[in-house]
């Protein structure tokens, strides 16, 4: 199958970070950037599908400035066949603006499947996959935890609150991938060497209008926590008293 995986370059969220001087973004100094967590699962799903179902092509598609090349190259080193870099100075916060650029690239390009991670770990929006599918008029299942493809049709599971939902859909389709569906592989040395020769096409990103912007970005208020009630089981009655009389949660 010809499969597109839309990925995003994001700061490693395990790292400590600071707000930039503009008060609207993260200070990039000293940050490591990588493929967004959920997108890594989407790549793995694409690679496995083609390994299991015969030859095909996996194409990584992403938006961003020049630094994105490093991220696309990493995807190629994991086993993706080629990359498409939709170039823009900065990736907007507005998911629909991004979706317009992706839809313009993916429309009528012959993909059997278009995969996304269920959300990017920087914006935390989780909207681009569904919006791209809608703009393309393709069937969509979001946040899937299990996938089977057979004879041009798919079956997917989604985890809802307290229940698992099963749905069926025809191909071509757009899917957004939850974690845990398949453990992502790491780049091999051979893969890293091979990636150097794989092509990355660069085109301008045809972004849509931006209606959602970041006015301010702040670190969350420090909780006034750090209050140790006591040590061992003897502290329990005092804890329960505080929960009743001070916190009023009992």
């Amino acid at each position: 199958m010809k499969i597109a995986v839309c990925i995003k370059r994001v700061p490693d969220t395990e790292m400590r970070f600071a707000i930039a001087a503009d008060g609207k973004s993260v200070d990039p100094a000293g940050l490591k950037f990588d493929i967004s967590d959920f997108d890594g699962y989407a790549i793995e799903v694409a690679l496995r599908l083609n390994e299991q179902q015969g030859p095909g092509e996996v194409v990584a598609v992403a938006l961003g400035p020049d630094a994105l090349q490093e991220t696309l190259r990493k995807a190629l080193s994991i086993g993706v066949d080629r990359g498409i870099h939709l170039k823009c100075d900065a990736v907007p916060f507005d998911g629909l603006s991004i979706a317009h650029a992706l839809a313009a690239e993916l429309r009528d390009a012959g993909y059997n499947l278009i995969l996304f991670g269920r959300m990017a770990t920087d914006t935390g929006n989780g909207t681009v996959g569904a919006m791209t599918a809608t703009l393309l008029g393709l069937p969509l299942v979001t946040a899937i935890s299990h996938l089977e493809i057979k004879d041009g049709r798919g079956t997917a599971h989604r985890e809802l609150e307290g229940a698992t939902e099963t749905s069926t859909f025809p191909l071509p389709a757009v899917l957004t991938i939850d974690e845990g569906i398949a453990r992502p592989r790491l780049p091999s040395l051979k893969g890293i060497m091979a990636a150097k020769k794989k092509p990355i096409d660069i085109r301008p990103a045809a972004l849509g209008p931006v209606r959602l912007t970041v006015e301010a970005l702040e670190l969350p208020p420090e909780r006034t926590g750090g209050r140790i009630v006591g040590e061992g089981p003897d502290a329990v009655p005092e804890l329960v008293r505080l929960l009743q009389t001070e916190a009023k949660v009992l």
Binding site: L96, T168, P170, L217, L219, R223, G230, Q244, A247
Partner: protein, 329 residues
């Protein structure tokens, strides 16, 4: 004066708690627009109209019930087309969705169909002239973004629990409507809905969440967590990623960056050190209690109340105390 729209989520014929929260938020938006009406929409199998009037309690003026034998389960293409048609036909100031599994699937479909901006997973919002200013956790909860959304209606999905349901009773008018597209023609079809752990309180809805981490040492020791949760009577059980990765608990119990994000009134972290990955899923809880052997564990910096000690001694005592308090009322 402008009206506000709310998608009221139903499951198994009953409203989910987020439905009332969504209507409450729509009531806030309508009141801030000069006292407009709240129009709620609910989808379901024939007979759904019987529950519709419940939304009046939270401030809905009009409830449109889209009933069809094919709508007993979520039908994403039918729901989104019908909501898009309703929003196109009315002049709404805002349209509210829950940022639940269903709402997160539905809202971006509607936004793209109408070419409207969407602020997702919003924890607070206010109308500001032609714009909406919304708060939204970004970078897995390590930062809070203040967003500006332009265009009308402004589409927002609300983080469950962030805007509590508030009563604003009125008698809601109820009307029924046909879906905008034929459910039989949908390409994506939900064929099954299998409950996990029947009759358990959902993590996102429970007022109290008791979570366990590696400090429990073995899967069978989660019995202590289960017993504490049962003593509260209104608690759900969560776990860290380390625990679900090891198969001690079902992956759906995971709280954190890559699992569920919860904001209960009370969060009890037992044997959890407080990795960033976990904190991302619970840091907005109203009150946090931590029980851990290591007094330097990062969880104590976040917790409102901490007990340093052996959880195998502390938790049974806490279970006993909570039982006593509840018994004595």
């Amino acid at each position: 004066m402008a009206n506000a729209f709310a998608f009221a989520e139903l499951r198994g014929g009953a409203f989910r708690k987020v439905a009332f929260e969504t209507v409450t938020a729509a009531r806030m938006a309508a009141d801030a627009s000069g006292g407009g009406e709240v129009h709620a929409m609910v989808f379901g199998a024939p007979g759904t109209a019987a529950v519709a009037e419940q939304l009046g309690r939270f401030g809905a003026d009009l409830v449109t019930v889209v009933e069809h034998p094919g709508l007993g389960r979520y039908a994403p293409e039918v729901f989104s087309a019908t909501i898009a048609a309703a929003l196109r036909g009315g002049s709404y100031r805002a349209a509210l969705f829950p940022a639940s599994a269903e709402g997160k699937d539905l809202a971006p479909r509607v936004a793209a169909a109408l070419d409207l901006g969407l602020a997702s997973d919003v924890t607070a919002f206010e109308l500001n002239g032609d714009a909406v200013i919304a708060r939204h956790p970004a970078y897995i909860g390590k930062a809070i973004a203040t967003l500006r959304l332009t265009g009308q209606p402004a589409l927002l999905s609300l983080r469950p629990g962030a805007i509590p349901a508030r009563e604003a009773p009125r008698t809601a008018r109820t009307t029924t409507a046909a879906p905008a597209v034929d459910p039989a023609a949908a390409r994506v079809v939900v064929t099954g809905l299998a409950p996990r752990g029947a009759a358990k309180l959902d993590l996102g809805e429970a007022p109290v969440v008791v979570s366990g981490g590696r400090g429990l040492k073995a899967a069978e020791n989660f019995k202590l967590i289960e017993e504490l949760a049962s003593a509260f009577g209104n608690a759900a059980v969560g776990a860290t990623r380390a625990v679900t990765d090891d198969g001690w608990r079902d992956p759906s119990d995971q709280i954190g960056q890559t699992g569920r994000v919860v904001s209960p009134s009370l969060y009890v972290a037992v044997g959890i050190s407080g990795a960033v990955q976990h904190l991302a899923g619970m840091r907005t809880s109203r009150v946090i209690v931590a029980i851990n052997r290591d007094k330097d564990a990062p969880i104590f910096k976040l917790a409102d109340y901490g007990i340093v000690g052996d959880l195998f001694e502390v938790v049974p005592r806490l279970t006993e105390e909570i039982r006593r308090v509840r018994r004595e009322g």
